[in-house]
Symmetry: D3
Subunit: 337 residues, 6 copies
C-alpha cells in the first residue's frame, strides 16, 4: 500500500488493540540511549522495515530452508514500535517492560489460543533485550539465549568503575545480559555467545570467568571461521548438545557480530568479524524451540547504501523461517517459575 | 505507532476502501521512469514521509499562518501509494490515471458530502501531475496550475527531435504540462511558472513563446530574488490579479526550483535557485482555492542528511495549511466542461 | 603538534589542573541524550575541533572586526571535554553541573586574578547550557541569554503531556531554558531568541505567551531576512536597547538556526533558516559584556563534508573575537544573588 | 588525454564509424528502466570507466593469468555508449537491438577480417543482455550463458501475476533470460547460474524447475563457498564437462552476485554473497570460447567510494584477459541457425 | 557518444594535434599538490565534465544572456587534460607551463587565423592559473585578473615563515597570484578580488596593503550581499570603471567564493560566502574582453551529490557565454612585452 | 580528557621535548603528496586516532594474544604529528627524515635507557616508511621489512618511463621500497610482501624478478586465502624460517592489502583482497623482534563510517601487542653499519 511495514506484513497498533490476533509479531524498539559510543539505533526499526521491502509473501521461498515462511500457517503482523522516551532510561526501561508484558502476556496467538504470540524485536540498542526477556520469563520460565555479538554484553555493572557509577548507570547495552542473569531471566547453563572478539577489561580473563559463571558458553569469531564450515558444524553441534530438546530459546543478533565491511551501520564496530553468509549458515543450523528473537544495533546514520539494514532484515527472515518451520513453540510445564 | 505515515496521520488503503472518508489525503506516487537524468524519485514518497516524522497534530501550529492545520476541521489521511509499474510508462500512466480517478471521482470528503477529498501527491517524478490533473478536470473543469520549477516542463514532445522520437516517448517529466494543455486540463490563461532558470532549446525564445501560447505566465528565479521581498510581493500580486477569485488552483512544486545547496536530492539540478524561505514565503502568499497539489522530484539516493525530503515535507505542510485555512474548496458550476 | 585542539590552542586537563590559568577556555560537552530526534551531537566537540584546524593565531585576523583575537591579551586554552555518562541524564546533569562549577568557580583567569575564565562550550545537545548557566549564575548573577535557534527551547516540561511524563523526563534539549528560568538563572527581561521558525504546540500562541512571561523577546528567521540588512540592524538595535549596558550576556547558538542547506549536521532541522553570513553579521553586531557562550547541536554523523562543523567553528571564532575585543568582562556588584 | 575511456583505450563512435576496426570493444548501455527496485545503473558505464583509470596497457600484466591482455595481439576500443531512451522500454529495446546488430553484424574485427569484433557491455540493468544475445545469435547460433547473479533472471513474465501484467510489462531485469530462451537465443542445455541465493516465488521450487527446463544448471553462493576452493574447482569442472569444447560462451556478471559489503552500488542486494576474490578465481577458471560478455547492475548513486565500480572494472579486465589469452573466437559452422 | 566531454563538445588530443582548430577550448588540469588543506581537486576536471552532461548545444540557450553560446560562431573543443605529475611540483609547474604555451602560442583559433584559441581551464587547485597566465602574457601582454575567491591568494611566499620555507615551497595555491605579479604577468592596476572573507595573517591589514601594492581592488563577500543587488551593481560599475575598454581580462573562479552549503566539494571552505545566483549575476555583468578563464578547487571526494561540480559547470557555461557573445578577443598592439 | 589521542594515550610534543621518556610512540605523518591516485591520506593520522577512541588501557585485553599490551611494562605515548609541507616533496622528505632521526636517535626509551623508543607511524601515504627506515638503519643496521600490500612498492623509479621522469619524480608511494634497498636500509634477503595482487608492468614478470633481486619473498592474496588457514600457517612458517631469530623486523601495513569492501578509505584499491580477520591472524602469528612499524594509506575522505580507520587502529593495537608481549627489542651488535 506504500506504507512501509516489515516485508509488507499487515500492521496493527498491537499495544492498543488486544483483540488483534497473530502468531509472530515484528515489534520495533526505537531506543538507543543505553549506547556507549555511536548512537542512532533509534532509527533502526524504521531502516530495517525499509530494507525489507523486497521481501514479500509472494516471493518468500527460503532456498536454504526449502520453505516459504510467509505463506504457511503463521499469521504475521508488524506491530509497529514501542513508544519510548529518549531522555530517561529509567522511564524508558519501564515503558519497554510494560509494553513487552502487554504484548507477551496479554495477547493470544492466532493459531494457538491461550498461547502468546512470539516476537522478533527490531532494535534499538542491545539493551532492549532485557524487557523482552522479562516478559518471556513469565511465560516460558528461564530461556536460553543464543547471542551473536562481538561483545560479551554481560558486563557486571554493579562493579563501581568510576566516581559516578551507581545504580542509575547500571543499565547499558553492555551489561543488560548480566542484569538478565541477576534477575533470573536466562538459563543457568545453556546460554551461548557467538562471534566474540572485542577487547575485554583488565589484565586477564576475569570478564570471561564471570561470564562462564552466568551460564555462558563462548564461541569467538575465530572459532567460527578459522577452520571453516567444519568448525561451524562443530559449534552448532556443541550448542545442540548443550541445550535440552524443547527448551525455550531466544536468538539475539547484534549486527556488530559481522565485520564492519558488512555492517558499518552500527555503534561499536570490531574489525575481523563474521560474514553475512556465515551468520545465515549458523542461523539455518539452529532449529531450536524459538520463543523470541531480535536483531539490534542497526544505526542508520552510519549505514551505507542500506547494507546493514538489509542484512538485518535477512536475519529477521531467517528467524521467522525457523519459527514457522519448526512449528508452534513448546511451553514448558514448569512455567512462571 | 512506529509505522511511518505522513506527519503521523491515520492511514488507510484508500484505493481499496472507498467507504473511508477524509478531507485531505496524502497520496504517494513512486514513479520515476519518465525522468531524463538522475532517477531515484520512486523512493520520494517514502523519504518525505520519513522526513515528516517531527510534524504532528500536537505541535503543528504554523507561526507564519497563525494556524494549526492539523488540529482544525479537516480530516487528514495518508492514503499510501499508488501501485505503479517501473517497466512500462504506458501502463504506468494508465495505472496512475485510474488511481487518481478512483481517488478523486469515487471518494467523498468527510466534511463535504458529495464533494471529493483533495490530495497532495508525493512524487515521484514530475510527470505524475498529468494523471492527477486528468482526474481534477472531471470535477473542477480546467484548473490553473502554479508551477514551481527551474524548468518549463511544457516541452512540446510531439516535435520529432530524433530518429526514435514517437508517440511512445512523448510522456516525460519535461513535457507533461504540454500534454496537460493539449488535453484541455489546465486553464487557458491562468497558469504560472515560478523559479525558472534552466537553459532552453535552440537559438531563441521559441520554447517561451510556445509556453505563452499555452496560457502560462513566467517568473524566473531572478524575478523572485533580485529585488527581494518587494519583488516577491509584486509577483504574488500579479498572480492574484490574474487568477479569478474562486478559480480552482493546483500548486505543483518541483524541488529543483530550489538551489542544489538546499535540494541536492533531485534529478536535474540547476544552480542559482530559490531558497527554502523564499519558497515558504511565496506559498504563504498564495491563498487560492486550492483543489490539489504536489511536491515532486525528491530523489533520496542523492539527498544528503534528508535535507531535500525535509524541505519537501515542509512544502506539504504549507499546502495543507492553505487548504485548511482557506476552508473547503469551491467547485465551479460549470464543471466537467 | 598534530594532536587536534580548537584552533591549535594549547590544551590542559582543566578539570584536573586547577593551577592552570587562562582567560578564555573551550570546553567540550559530548552529551546528546537529551535529544528528541536525531542524536550524534556527542561527537560535536571532536568535529568542531577538527573543523577549526585552518584557524590559528598566525592567520587569525578577523576582517569584519578588524582584529586578531588569537594574538591579543587573552590566554586561550582548549580545556578538553567534560566526562559525561551517556546512560543516565540525571547523573549526566550532575556531572556537567559539577564540572562547570569547577571550571567557573574554582579557576582564575590569567589576566584578571580573582575573576573566573570565560568559556565557549562545544555541544553536545542544547541542554548543556543549563549547567553552564548554573555556574555563571553564581558569579555574575542572572545573565541575559541571546539564543540563536529555530526553536524556543523554553518548553514547560512540567506540563504532563503523556502518561509517562514526570520529573524524570523534564530535562530535555527543548525545555532547558524553561528550567533555567525556573531556577532563576537567566535575566527576567533581557533574553532574546533569534531565528525562530519551528512549529509550536497547540492551536494558538500559548507557547509564545509563556515564553514572554519568562523574559524573552523573539525574532523569527523571517524578522531577520525579509527586510534584509536594515531589518537586521533594527533587530540589533532593539536588543541593544533592551539589555542594559554592562549586563552579563551569554550567547548560545544552536546550529539549527541556520537552514539545513548550511547545517545538515544537526538533529532537528527546520527548512527556511538563516544563512551563515547573516549569523556572522548578527554576531559581529553584538558587542555585549559576554560572560560565556556556546555552539551546540552539531551532529557529525549527519554532517556532510564538515560544513556544519566548519560553520560552528566560525561561530566560536566570532564569539572569541567579541570577548577579546570587548575586553575583560564586567562582573556586577550584586553577584551571587 | 584526460578524457575518460575504459582503461585509457582508444575511443571511437563505433555506431557511426563502421570503418573503424578493432577486436574487442567496450560498449556502454546506460539503460536502467527495466529495474524493479533501486535505479541508477544508467550511470554505470560512466562509473566503471572512471573506476578503470588505474588500468592501462603499461601496467596491465595479469598476475593470476601470467599475461598482459592489453599489450598483445588484440586491438581494444572503447565504443562509447548506445543511445537509449529512458522513457519507453519498448523503444529502448529496439534501440539496443539495432545497436548491437550494427556492432556485431556490420563491423569487422581488426585481426580476423570477416569476423565480428567481440564486446564487453557495461550495464545498465541486466536486461541489456537480451539485445546483445539477439545479435550474437545471428553470428554464432545459440550461445551458452554463464550467469553470475544472486537471482535467476529467468522469471516467466508471461505468467499474469497482477491485474496490470501484460505483454508490455514482460521485459524486465528479472525476466530477460526467460525471454532469451523463448527467442531461441541461448543454448538448450549449457547455461549456468553462479551465485544464486535470492528468495524465489511461491511455496515450492517451481521457479527452479522452470529454470531447469530452459537449459540451466544452478550453483548457489553456498555451493561456491561452503566447501571452499575444492568446491569452486568442482563447480568449474562441472561447467567444463557440460559445455562442449569450442561452443560459443557468453559470461554475464550481475554485481549483486557479490555480497552487499563488496557491491553496495547495485539495485537488488542479497546478503550472503560471493567475495570479489571468489569471483576473480572463478572467472580465471573459465577459459571458454568467449564470444561476448557484460558486467551489469552497477548503480553509482548507491556505490560508496567507487568500490562496486572498481570491482566491475576488474571483472571487465578478467573477461578481456580470457578473450585475448584464449585467442580469436571460434565460430561454429552451423551459424545463423 | 557516451564518452564524457564537457557539455558533449567534440574532443581532441589538443596537445598532440596542433592542426586541430577551434575557438574556445576546455582544458583540464588535474593538479592538486599545491593545496594547503583538503586535496582531491585532481579529480575536478573529470567531475566537472560529468556534471556538465545536461548541457548541450541543443538546449544551450542562456536565458539571462538571451543567447545560445553553444550554437553560434565559435568552435568549441574539449581538449582533455594536461598530463601533470602528482609527486613533484617543480616538474609539474614546468609541465603545465609547457602545455599552456603549446596550447596558447602554437595553436590557431578556427575563426581567427593567426590568433590563438581561448581556454577555460578546469582545476585542479588554484595554482594552475600561473602557467595559464604565463602563456597569455606572451600573447596579450599583462592581463587583468578578476578573481572570485574567499582568499587573497596573493600571499608573499618569499617571506620566510618557518624553518623549512624556501624557494622550493614558494609555489602554492595561496601565493600564485603574488608570483604572477612578481613575474609581471598581471595588470599593474586592474586586478580585482571578489568574495573575500577568509582570516588573514598577523595583527593588522598588512596582507591587504601588500595586495593593494600589487594592483588589486578588493570586494569582500559582505560588499556583495549586504546591500543586495544595488551593491552588486555598484561593484560591477567600479570594476568596469577601472578596467580600460578592450583590456585583456581573465576571470578565475575559486569555488570557495561560494558558501560551503553550495560548494562543499572544495579544500578550504569559509562560511558566509556567496550564493550561486550572486555568482551568476556578477558573471553576467562582466562583459569584458575575456582572453581566458578558469574554475578551480573543485574537490570531488568532498562534493555531495555533485552540487559543487554542477555549479562549476555552470560557471564555465557563463564564461563561454561571455566569450562568444562578446565576440572574438582583441589583442593589444603592444603584445609580448 | 576529550582531546583525541591514540587509544587515550598520554601525549607530548615529542619533537620538542627530548626529555620525555616512553617505550612505544605513536607518530603521525600527515603526508600524501607522493600518492599516484586518490589523495587524502594526510588526514589519516587524525582519523586513526579518532577511530581508536574505543581502545583504552582499561579495556585493552587482547583475547587472541591473551595479553593487555596497554597495561604492562611499556610506557605508551602519542607523539603527535611530524610537520610536513604539502607543497614540495623534496623538502617534505627532509622534514620527515630529520624528524625520524630526532625521534629515533635522540630519544631514550623509558624502560631501556640508552635504547631508543620504538614507533608505530600513522600514514600518510606509504612513502613515509622511507624516512622511518633511514633512522632505524642508524640504530639497528639493516632491517627486514614485512610489507602487507596489494602492490610491490619496489618500483625502480630510476627507469625513465616518460619524458618528464627524473631524479625529482623518483620518490613516490610506489617506489620508496626500491629506494630503501638502494640506500641499503633493508635486509638483503629477509623482506616479505604479503597480499600482492595488483597488475604489474610490461608483458612479463620483470617487476617480480627485480623485486626478488632486492631481497623480497612474495605472498599474494591468493597465496593466503585459497588454501585457508593451513596456507596462512605455511606462509608464516616460511617467513619465520627465513628471518633469523632476533633480526630486527619492521612491519608495514598498507590498508589496500585488504579488499575495498573492508578498506574503501584508501587511494589505490585492488578488488580481491585480504579480510581484516586474515590480517589480524597473520599479525598475531608474527612474533618477531619488532623495531618499528606503520599503518598507511588511510584516506578519510573515501572512508565510509570509519571502517578503514577502525581497521587501521586495530592493526596498531596488534603491532603494539606484539612489541609489548615480545618484550624489549634486541639491538644487533653490528649496528650503525
Ligand atoms: Mn550487543
Ligand atoms: Mn556488540
Ligand atoms: Mn519539473
Ligand atoms: Mn525541474
Ligand atoms: Mn536548541
Ligand atoms: Mn533548535
Ligand atoms: Mn541480474
Ligand atoms: Mn541480480
Ligand atoms: Mn583560490
Ligand atoms: Mn580560496
Ligand atoms: Mn603501499
Ligand atoms: Mn598499496
Amino acid at each position: 500500500s506504500g506504507i512501509v511495514t516489515f516485508a509488507h506484513f499487515e500492521t496493527c497498533r498491537a499495544l492498543l488493540e488486544p483483540e488483534k490476533k497473530f502468531d509472530i509479531g515484528i515489534i520495533g524498539v526505537p531506543f538507543d540511549t543505553a549506547t556507549s559510543y555511536r548512537p542512532g539505533a533509534r532509527f533502526g526499526p524504521s531502516a530495517i522495515r525499509q530494507a525489507s521491502q523486497r521481501q514479500s509473501e509472494k516471493r518468500g521461498y527460503n532456498l536454504r530452508a526449502g520453505y516459504n515462511p510467509y505463506k504457511e500457517w503463521a499469521t504475521l503482523m508488524d506491530c509497529g514500535d514501542i513508544p519510548v522516551t529518549p531522555v530517561c532510561n529509567e522511564v524508558a526501561l519501564e515503558q519497554m517492560t510494560d509494553a513487552f508484558e502487554e504484548l507477551v502476556l496479554r495477547r493470544q496467538s492466532a493459531s494457538m489460543p491461550n498461547h502468546p504470540p512470539r516476537y522478533i524485536a527490531l532494535g534499538g540498542d542491545h539493551s532492549i533485550i532485557l524487557p523482552h526477556l522479562r516478559a518471556l520469563r513469565k511465560v516460558y520460565g528461564r530461556v536460553a539465549v543464543i547471542h551473536f555479538d562481538a561483545h560479551l554484553d554481560t558486563y557486571n555493572s554493579s562493579k563501581k568503575n568510576g566516581y559516578w557509577d551507581s545504580e542509575k548507570t547500571r543499565f547499558t547495552h553492555g551489561s543488560m545480559l548480566w542484569m538478565a542473569c541477576e534477575e533470573g531471566l536466562i538459563s543457568e547453563d545453556y546460554n551461548v555467545h557467538v562471534g566474540l572478539r572485542a577487547r575485554i577489561g583488565g589484565k586477564d580473563m576475569d570478564d570471561y570467568h564471570e561470564d562462564t559463571s552466568q551460564g555462558w558458553m563462548r564461541f569467538s569469531t575465530d572459532d567460527i571461521w578459522i577452520n571453516g564450515v567444519p568448525a561451524m558444524e562443530s559449534v552448532l553441534k556443541k550448542i545442540k548438545d548443550r541445550i535440552p530438546e524443547g527448551y525455550p530459546v531466544y536468538i539475539s543478533l547484534d549486527v556488530d557480530c559481522m565485520d564492519p565491511g558488512f555492517a558499518p551501520g552500527t555503534g561499536t564496530m570490531e574489525p575481523g568479524g563474521l560474514t553475512p553468509r556465515e551468520v545465515i549458515y549458523l542461523l539455518r543450523g539452529m532449529d531450536f524451540n524459538l520463543v523470541g528473537g531480535d536483531v539490534v544495533e542497526v544505526s542508520p546514520p552510519y549505514d551505507t547504501s542500506e547494507i546493514t539494514a538489509t542484512a538485518a532484515s535477512q536475519v529477521v527472515y531467517e528467524l521467522i523461517t525457523t519459527m514457522v518451520e519448526k512449528g508452534k513453540p513448546e511451553i514448558p510445564l514448569l512455567r512462571k517459575n
